[in-house]
Assembly symmetry: D2
Homo-oligomer: 415 residues x 4
């Protein structure tokens, strides 16, 4: 670890909580240089939905490199870009009756969000964007302005503008957050300008695994339609099957104007991002938003191969089943350890256990790491242990992970 | 091309000027699906300094994938990250007596710039950043605020703040731009607050291949030291050997506080970015800036292998020699076609030919494309044809490219 | 009226609704050049609490001018400034156990608000200020940023920053706006930074005569104390006795850190403003906020004389009694004309009648004007008829005014 | 002075440098409570161009008050407002062939500037305004954003936006500031957006009595016309005859789109401000900018009477002659005291003497105060002694003042 401590910036974060050097990964397991095995309930913060080093993706990537395939192309036409576009349309968009134009905004989630905000402002001629409490949309200044966490916002070093934070579903006890939002929008004296867009995550990952109800999502969608506000769903973490459907908003039967995808869209964890835009709002000038790595062709190869998981319903069904196993496991822990003052959060394979204020989630995660489980915290006060196993995990893996967590909690409570 | 026209956003840009589908690349050449060969004077806008599919890099990447190496790791410790850090220190920093902490800010140039601006503001407690006319630093809101191009700025959809544009070297005929900058800084009534940082490119790539003199760079550095302003060199395009030395600022013998690297740092064109920070300014809290793809391990593999080019002086010398060939070729064209009202710009293998207002650089580049040369324009009015061949190009390749350009100009002028 | 139409800017407003040329005023009556008499239920939008041309004030002003008293002095020491300061301390501050330093920020309410925001930001080192829905604090950019009306905000021509709009008391049906505010303040992930200050009017005049309950004001005050947020009461319109006590916040038994006064503080309607600041927050550097007319000595003369009204409790009691008369009058109208879908608002001599959406307040006010009553509308949709008679009005005057309003409503409903 | 020290905010400024209590004023003289007489070379920072308590103005004001004239009217029609508008048109606008609509924006200079910026942004749909180094336009956030002084800007407590500071005439030694401005405007890659307006003072008062040349003003005007930028002249301090003509820009033969007037426009030092707008740009909605004291009728009375000074050329000629006397006096001092390293600045009766860095202007002004001369400093480092005598001063008064200054300098240098 000396190398990281001496040569790397103090900004490094995960290598502090998991102080080892990782070497290999396959499926839902990883190994460090000492050969110690870990179950991965973190999955690259949602970037490894298909697990580590999927055989099919590996094979295609090696074949592509060996064949001298174009690796870097900005937005020039390439065979791998073409194939990905066609496959994405056929496998994902067409079966869901979605008609989006695909933008490659640069290979990160924050870049997708920045592009979404820009086009929403251009199309509407308005500057304000409404985001929600405990939202996380990225760390560049545009995305950070719609991110709620005060530590991260403060890191900007400058005040963040052109955004208004509204309460997410269930944010204030016994208060109807939709009634607030509606009142602010309808009243010309509310002090909140008619926004260009409302941006949301259907399940807030970094914000503490807060899952909006389908009813709440529907109502936000209705408000957007009533006032010609664009609805942006940031599906960077909750998308690509994480909640059981490819897009996390499918069960709400809503119709976002713009969708941000990244993390697992590249299949193997290589950087890639997409911004999906309804054709009527795709009013970009050529090059009006760009970026050097918007054509990461090796990621197109991985992304195309990964879409095979979505050719039938089987994958989706399996995620839901495993989600039920996970939820039961969490609920059992909640009951077993009442002193944790805990409760369950989330849906699909994006779940968490929120712990009462007097307990340390960090201690629990540290015990879990010692026992071979990689799991991290989230929420404004790190009060939630967040479970994001690879979607390809089997029940055995889930149960092993939950068992380690059980022991870790027991140990921490025993101290 | 129908796929791109129908499925992709109108934001796509290069696939309009070079309307074909590329398939393979090796060294300084690429081929499209029809088997047509092109000489690449574009090199992924500077992301492919080592050419397409370098044998050594290919081999290491394949080996890594086959061995189930960790591909995605955020900022967890991995073997590939460790090796890269050590090699970068040994090959690049130590021999140049540079003592930077290395930050991985997310895998794009704009992310590196955003992180540089944040830390400069945090360290100084000031909000303003001075940037220069015709600067390009990226497309996310923080970086865009220090980018000068009005089309790109306007795309933000919101006013851009906390930045002041000052004249770059030689910007106003017969005016001493350093005298202006100095006066604005020294006068408490100038209307420009003492800035957190001054950010600059030593050679402005997108801005029209404007190369600052070494004397000008030295004076900016002195002004920064006099007023405790951090100097940020954005070496995303001009770095990694593009101008003949690894860092473009080496011949100026200056000492930037922060350096942004991306594009070619990954070796093979895979997304990667570094922010180099003097230890005394590395005051980040853990995770105060982050990003899902800040640990792109396949790019670490490529980056480490590419650093072999820098083990001796030979590569640097060769770039300078090829730069001389390129410069002579450009100057010959300037003389041969006086009706172009042209002049030479740039240094190393980052050069351009600026064309008078009555001629179309786009037409010339289109003719060149037809003849098998990939070359693009830059500058606020696209008035410059920009030459960024891979650094590994040989003289033969350079001369072929120049010959195609000669014919293209002749054809356009003949019309 | 031709003079105004031809020579004045289209921004003129009141001369459209009351299309005549006024010449004289005395007490609660004014006369136009045709000799027509009007009862004034407008009182200079609250700047003429002591009525037009009070005998005592007139006498002192004439005496001062005749004696070649200093009229203009910025913040130089003058006899009239000295006497005002001493009288204000003795008559207003000391009896209420208030210990404020007095700042003269320039002679307008908006200037007082701008100075309050500046000092709150300086003292706390924070930039955000929380204001409320339907707040009105002024038209210069700082004050406008905490003003809620969308028409007025839009007039800025630039986005307004550093402010967050929270729901005023009773803003959303059946919702607890204090719970909402508290949640945003306590949660580090709310997206709202800890503010420098909360600014409020206890009764929103322009916003539609919305009177906060004493309980709500107390709770806001408690939240401010809990998080070291400065509480600014903008008492420009509701202060100087308008609600029955000199400061409108007295019945809430709260303790604002900063108080803004203007409008009637000058006694005769001459421009004057004060910013009252708790001594521990009076951290201005000399001249850090200034203004040419911050020493309007004739206004000091009027202001000092007007403070005589406050030497005993009698004036305060009389206002409350007249307020009861006014309230009963309004409630009678509400009952008498159910088709208005009206309800009563406000307290003291700052009351209004809110009319349902299908009726025109403008028509009613126009009828009233024809019948000799000056009364204006307020609220985001001009849905409230606002009653601000001079505090020195007698019951006869109140009843005459109410009678005219009754006839005006009848006429409009009859059409 | 104890009253001011104990009761007033620490923001008070002039009462520190001139620590006495003033009581009376007449013409160019004032007296304190001890009966000590002072010659006034300050004139209310330019608000008392017609001297203290002009007989004619006094008489009209008393008559108006005695006649129960309307004192406060917002923008209702009144006889005094009507008469002022007609007299201003007839005496000032018509003879100069100027066709402005008159706006009353609230009774302070900063309010006039705020309104000018708003309408310029509305009319052009652009947000940036260009202002100049060492400009002073006011202390509310909109005006402060175009004010250059760093102490005053810092007092905002928030970053100031939507403005760009350009170098004033002669700002950088041996550099052509017009060439600089032109280059930034013409280049689409300059980083400075096409502005809504350029705002300037022809002679910068607070900034150090910097007088722009007529040629420079003409060129700025030409640049504005070339790019459809509105030219705003802030004539708050330099207008109303201060430089010898009613408007300070008359000798430059330029044609501003908007003119800001305040300070001496009220005649007697009572708060009043005007914004003059070319009819084609007068696109306000009713009430889009407002303010409680925009109808200060007693100031209309004073303003109307003061316009009598402008019925013939005599007043203008006399100012110029007295300006010559003042200039000669200053130049004599410059020669007599070479150790001051001084030079002359300004024109008309708006002149100054700039002192080298090693001398204290504060000490000189303090000596002058002791000897009965009121004179203040200006400039970013208070390096200029500023002479703003009332325009009605006689040569005797000028010479007495200069003599006191001579002695004061001698005393300070002798220490």
């Amino acid at each position: 670890m000396k190398t990281f401590e001496e040569l790397e910036s103090t900004v490094r974060s995960y290598s502090r909580g998991w102080p080892t050097v990782f070497e290999k990964g396959k499926g839902y397991k990883i190994w460090d240089t000492d050969g110690k095995e870990y179950i991965d309930f973190f999955a690259g913060a949602g970037a490894l939905n298909y697990g580590h080093n999927d055989d099919g993706i590996q094979e295609k990537m090696i074949e592509y490199i060996q064949g001298n395939g174009i690796l870097h192309s900005l937005d020039m036409g390439t065979t791998s870009r073409k194939t990905f576009l066609e496959t994405f349309k056929e496998t994902i968009l067409a079966p869901r009756n979605l008609d989006y134009k695909v933008m490659f905004p640069g290979p990160t989630g924050t870049n997708s969000v920045e592009s979404a905000l820009k086009i929403a402002r251009k199309v509407t001629g308005r500057d304000t964007v409404i985001s929600f409490t405990n939202a996380f949309h990225g760390m560049t200044i545009g995305s950070l302005s719609v991110t709620a966490n005060s530590f991260k916002r403060h890191g900007a070093g400058v005040p963040l503008h052109h955004s208004v934070s509204m309460p997410f579903d269930d944010y204030v006890e016994d208060q109807n957050t939709i009634a607030y939002l509606e009142r602010f929008l309808e009243d010309r004296g509310s002090g909140v300008a008619l926004p260009a867009a409302i941006i949301l995550e259907t399940v807030q990952g970094e914000g503490g695994i807060n899952a909006a109800s389908m009813e709440w999502l529907k109502k936000v969608d209705e408000l957007c339609k009533r006032w010609d506000i664009l609805l942006i769903v940031d599906d960077v973490q909750a998308g690509c099957g994480r909640t059981g459907t490819f897009f996390s908003f499918e069960p709400a039967e809503i119709d976002p104007d713009i969708v941000c995808l990244s993390k697992s869209i590249g299949g193997a964890g290589l950087p890639l991002a997409l911004t999906l835009i309804k054709p009527e709002y795709d009013q970009w000038g050529p090059g009006e938003h760009n970026g050097t790595f918007r054509g990461n062709n090796l990621a197109f190869i991985g992304a195309t191969e990964a879409l095979k998981f979505w050719e039938t319903d089987a994958f989706s069904k399996a995620i839901k089943e495993k989600g039920d196993v996970l939820q039961k496991g969490i609920e059992d822990l909640v009951k077993k350890y009442p002193e944790l003052d805990a409760h369950h959060r989330g849906r699909g394979l994006m779940q968490g256990i929120a712990i009462g204020k007097h307990q340390s989630t960090d201690d629990i995660c540290a015990e879990a790491f010692d026992r071979g489980l990689i799991v991290e915290t989230s929420g404004p006060d790190d009060e939630v242990i967040k479970f994001l196993p690879p979607l390809i995990i089997d029940k055995d893996g889930l149960e092993q992970g939950l068992a380690i967590l059980d022991e870790s909690i027991k140990t921490v409570l025993g101290k």
